[in-house]
Symmetry: C2
Subunit: 151 residues, 2 copies
């Protein structure tokens, strides 16, 4: 199974968070099992808030990009077609709400798990949990808005 971002239209492959074509970006990879999307990401040492703790802006970025990928994968599934079919499905972030529950240690892999809690043709609401060392560190809710291609 390939990761969701590998199916993104080349026009979107530049995203700092999830674009595989942005060499300075995070290049996260999200996997969809039909119900949940998961993603593992190990931050670089520069991504600190204070020594030993992951920067909250990175956590927000990871939740944002992973949740958008989740919305995309679920939308392909809802339309009964594979992720490499045309036209491509894209979403943009309308609202991002992150609750920081506990500091995330800098070093271990961060684990994200996301799912759709509500979906309409125009937007999806995505729930996301971010854990490290088996403990929940942050919770996110993202409103993903369907992006309609002009072409």
């Amino acid at each position: 199974m390939n990761f969701i971002q590998s199916y993104y239209d080349p026009q979107y492959a530049t995203c700092f968070g999830c674009g595989q074509a942005n060499p300075q970006g995070l290049r996260i990879q999200s996997y969809w099992d039909g119900e949940f999307a998961t993603c593992g990401h190990t931050p670089g040492p520069e991504q600190m808030a204070y020594p030993g703790v992951v920067y909250g802006g990175l956590i927000a970025s990871l939740i944002d990009c992973h949740s958008i990928a989740t919305a995309i994968a679920a939308a392909y599934q809802a339309e009964g077609r594979p992720m490499d079919s045309r036209p491509p499905i894209a979403y943009v972030t309308g609202n991002l709400n992150v609750s920081y529950l506990a500091p995330a240690p800098l070093g271990p892999e961060l684990e994200l798990k996301a799912w759709i809690s509500q979906a309409t043709p125009k937007k999806s609401v995505v729930q996301c949990e971010l854990s490290a060392e088996g403990k929940l560190r942050a919770r996110g809710e993202t409103i993903a808005v369907r992006y309609l291609w002009a072409g």
Copy 2:
């Protein structure tokens, strides 16, 4: 007038968003006029969502760090003491809520303006607007939680 982050305790000067000692970070600088805090930041070309548009994760990061700085500056003011007095005041992010209203063009400076909408001894609610080319692009609400020093 010096910027708020220049008064941060060295322990916090490592933050990826606002730590002046993190050479790979954003090193944002926020200025407090007694009522509003302002910050200008010009993203690097790698900080794109798609070509010509600023990455939303960067916008969330800027709103987060600038809003925390705002909470800190306002707390010193409420206590009637300068920002270089001891003990240092620190806040962490409890919740970050960002609404993306319009794409922000990649290139021009992003302008942030923040203020306190509610404050208790334990936490402050910070409103933040992010504009580019004179137009509002995103709005943030941050719950900043007072961090109590162990020492």
